[in-house]
Symmetry: C4
Subunit: 230 residues, 4 copies
């Protein structure tokens, strides 16, 4: 790329709105998501220096592996969704930048409730319940920015690459709402059974894995010539 | 890109100054900023293994969440500013590279005063005041490179993409000075009330969030056809 | 790149399969691999604060350096393989994305068995054997996605750039199987001698280093005009 | 970039040598360097939870700030050198890839001797001397790959972009040798005075900062129309 050549031009819409190309936003988001997903392993280290049988220590902390795998899958899916989401955009505006930053905030935060869940899900009494509920609350916060992103695109469809449009954004929004409510319900169930909630967080990950490129990728909906097939 | 094709050419000005294209500098800076922002979560882990009520432990460390959120917002804004800054450049020179490295130095350092603030802002006596002042000092150091960057561009406007020019650099410089003085004042206020200072650091973040694309993005200034609107 | 210009277009094959360009997948994978390889150093810090002779402390933890170097070499090679692998692709599909994510999952996990190996390989009794076997198990899991990747490409050769084809994928697959079995055998040998297994993990790294661009890079096979020479 | 379009083509020289474009190598190296430079801050956290006066604790660990700043400057300079180095290349080969990986190995390792230096440089007796010597040894290992890189380019000048050539590589090689010997001498001086060595490591960083774009950037040599001025 020649140093004098224009790069990442910004466009101005009729109402003076400032638009930016998406490439550096994607690079920064990729960085944050990649680091958050890789930092998860640091919480597996804590108990290794304990005395006694290493095998028992390794087996006893199975909740740590479950929490590690759940959060890895969850962040991995968020990355896939993020990737598919930005592939459909031709530009970003300020509202979208802030929604993206708040998504990154809550994803970066996830290693903390993951560590709390791993350390306390098996605790008797209130502690296990609090740990399970905290993870669900973090999941809710992590899903809310998607609701905002889709709603914003329904009102600002000029940010889409054709053929994606406001109708497409309205069709995708419910998937984000489902996540918000699923995490809230599980956070509540965590007060009944922390272990049940922990496994349901994994199940939410699997659900999103199956729909990571939009509704249309669910079995039986693949043939419809919707815009997301183009 | 063909392996034989020229890539990232460097230009030489009449006085033999060496210019580099900005892309790899942006990639490295994105990496450092993304890592610094994501490492902040590691300081939330410390107190989780404490005995007793998990709920009380989680609620008691609210200063940690405040410090985490403040520093996340601050680094996020620096990234937005950095992004907007480099979008206006067509090349870098050595002075700009070193100013950028010193910016990255102080941003990378921020997790340390953040951890100190979180752990000690509530301490009675001198400790809380020192923790609050340290954060303000770190904020001052983190803002100084921006003063240098804008002053340098005022004298080296050939690094800008048109239509940005020396006059634009001179108009933007005060925003950096405001940050320097705001952090210094808050560091001083930290000796009066550590908690007041902690909340003011958050307020500084909010101020910069509202002006992250330059002065012109403040309400009421949006219509002026300044270069940063192009 | 103009904001209105199509970017990273996706292609649709006759059966409606969705293909994505590989660039952002490579960027995310590079991020995860770069972080995992750099986090390894954090486990060298643990014992430094010990009392007594620093020189003895540094020398006594030679297993930590061995484990560090082995895992650094292993992840470095996986990066080289990953790089060479994606250079041969023109697109990804969903199966390939998930195989890649599972590869990243097990690579991100590697710092944990590395730390366990470093801390316990010299333990008498069962602990040393468990530590050695755990590393081999992690290595096996880390190699399995490659088996899947080559098998998938043998059935989906349209993802290759020419001249790479299904026959090429079938020729490369055994190299992944060798890794799976080598790590399994070493995990078993770890129950006989933990130190032997630790050195064999290093030897596996060296073997892959010598073949990191495919079979053809082994001495004596370089002149054959196979597709991987193009 | 169209999914069908050739990307990052590899060239084959007359003797069948495989060449790769440099872009993904640069991306991975940028990632490792950015992470290593940002992880340095984690070692500043250790002593903060100590009892007593926070101000005294902060002031007492001035060696930590010195070590942090020295290593940050050193890695920052390596990044600048790495950037300038790869800007002059049109392709990489396997020897260059391995030399680059060994450079990344020793840079990733640097946070460990940095932590040891910070914690022990002030220790009486042998411990302080060992800590100082260890840092110098790490510096030596970190500089050796540059010797190899320049020697390799002197023999493989086809990897250069014109007008850089074998003669240029031979002119740059001594700068790497100077680093090797400077770190070795300082490691030796560390046995006389650990503090002297610690400040000399900083001085080495400053020396490389002044010559980070090649010899010609030293004052008084700027006007010579050498290839690195083009």
């Amino acid at each position: 790329m020649a140093a004098d050549e224009p790069r990442e031009p910004t466009a101005v819409t009729d109402d003076g709105l400032r638009l930016s190309s998406t490439s550096r936003t994607e690079a920064f988001s990729d960085g944050v998501l990649a680091i958050a997903i890789t930092l998860l392993v640091l919480d597996l280290h804590a108990d290794v220096s304990a005395q006694g049988s290493l095998l028992q220590t390794l087996l006893r902390q199975w909740e740590s592996y479950l929490a590690y795998f759940t959060s890895f899958l969850t962040i991995g899916i968020i990355w896939l969704n993020h990737h598919a989401f930005f592939e459909r955009l031709r530009a970003t505006d300020r509202a979208l930048q802030w929604a993206n930053l708040s998504l990154l905030l809550f994803v970066s935060f996830l290693p903390f409730p993951t560590a709390v869940l791993a350390a306390h899900v098996g605790d008797p009494g209130l502690n296990g319940r609090v740990a399970a509920a905290l993870y669900g609350l973090a999941g809710t916060l992590m899903t809310l920015p998607w609701v905002f992103l889709w709603r914003h695109l329904a009102r600002a469809p000029h940010l889409f690459r054709p053929p994606f449009d406001a109708a497409f954004a309205r069709r995708e929004a419910p998937r984000a709402w489902i996540g918000v409510f699923a995490y809230l319900v599980c956070a509540g169930l965590g007060f009944v059974s922390p272990y049940l909630a922990a496994f349901l967080y994994l199940a939410i990950g699997v659900f999103y894995a199956l729909t990571s490129q939009g509704w249309s990728s669910l079995p039986g909906r693949r043939r419809r010539p919707a815009p997301d097939q183009a």
